[in-house]
Amino acid sequence: MRVRFFVALSVLLMGAAASAHHSFSSEYDASKPVTLNGVVTKVEWMNPHVYFYVNVKDDTGKVNNWALEMGAPSGLQRQGWTRNTLQVGDIVKVEGSAARNGTKLANARNVYKDGKKMGAASSEGQGN
């Protein structure tokens, strides 16, 4: 309980460091939250945003490959990430906001791996 509390607290405080080079709301809609569970198929540890891709089964059983945007590598490193944190084949849960362009794209707010909440250096809530 105490551990969860401090993890939550540190995520809350670290959020202030996140930033981006585009306005969050020009690409994503905070009123359309998504939660995705699936298998990581690709990781692009690059600027200006780290992207990773997850195969997610929809309600009909069809598998869709979702693209997830996070912050820059430097922002993620400040939250404890490394370039090896996510690997192809990892099973993850992702909480985020859907893209406005209607594709299988979302801005990740939190990534969970092995039950651990890892943040995503997202610009959501920063209005960046």
């Binding site: 509390f5 080079h21 406005r100």
Partner: protein, 267 residues
């Protein structure tokens, strides 16, 4: 249970944040560093490290309530700057469409005041032997501006070649670096906040940069653009120092924003 946890996290975070903020405010910064000849040092001390941690800062004449790059109250736009009608209409459109047309995510340089509120850092490097100051942007397209300190005049007439960063000349007024810039093109948005602020090729900036203490860069700018505003106006903000080095960042690297920037309609 979950609700109680969230409530307690928020309450305790708030309780922690207030004293921490007070401590930060109360803890005196180290004094403004100087070079042996007495000039203010606008960077790290010899052997030290760090840079200016840009990202905050709102280009507005009056304090207005912001939600990131956007105004909370539409009516506050008149408090931001003395717009000419066309300029106000264009900024309102850009706000209403959620900044979807911003050139910056297309990796256009963060010129003008935007150099001082673009994320991923800023360094001010003096080259006194060359009579130049370089202002290096860590974010965006990772570009820089040269400020000529040798007394040269601005180009005039057909010599003017409008560019993103324009033509900057500077001098010291005591502890303040004063930079005068003209010759801007119109292909960038001159601030990150509020999004969409307009300018024309008539833009003339006077920037005053000082370091009141080790951890603070004070940025003040006068915006004189008779093409877009009814009179010159001022804005400014403080940029905090961080002891981390600037990390490599290139907007051009894996930029997928072109397909994603669809904007929308503000409520």
């Amino acid at each position: 249970m979950k609700l109680r946890l969230i409530v307690s996290v928020v309450a305790i975070a708030a309780a922690f944040a207030a004293p921490l903020a007070a401590q930060r405010a109360a803890k005196p910064s180290a004094p403004t560093p100087h070079w042996p000849d007495g000039r203010v040092n606008l960077g790290p001390e010899p052997g030290g490290k760090g840079h200016w941690n840009t990202g905050v800062g709102n280009l507005s004449e009056a304090d207005v309530k912001m939600d990131g790059a956007f105004l909370v109250n539409r009516a506050d736009l008149d408090k931001v700057a003395p717009f000419q009608p066309w300029a106000k209409a264009l900024v309102q459109y850009r706000l209403d469409t959620l900044g979807k047309d911003d050139p910056h995510p297309r990796c256009i340089p963060p010129a003008g005041p935007r150099q001082f509120n673009t994320p991923y850092g800023l360094e001010i490097v003096e080259q006194p032997e060359l009579k130049r100051v370089l202002i290096l942007s860590g974010g965006g397209s990772r570009s820089w501006r040269t400020v000529y300190m040798d007394g040269r005049p601005h180009p005039t007439g057909d010599e003017v070649n409008p560019t993103y960063y324009g033509h900057s000349v500077g001098h010291w007024e005591g502890e303040t670096l004063v930079i005068d810039t003209v010759g801007f093109n119109e292909r960038f948005w001159m601030t990150r906040r509020p999004t969409g602020m307009v300018h024309t090729e008539q833009l003339h900036l006077i920037e005053r940069i000082s370091r009141p203490d080790f951890n603070t860069l004070k940025y003040e700018v006068t915006i004189d653009d008779p093409g877009a505003y009814t009179r010159p106006w001022k804005a400014g903000w403080n940029v905090p120092w961080t002891t981390e080095e600037v990390e490599e960042y290139f907007c051009q690297d894996n930029n997928r924003d072109l397909q994603h920037l669809v904007g929308g309609t503000a409520e």
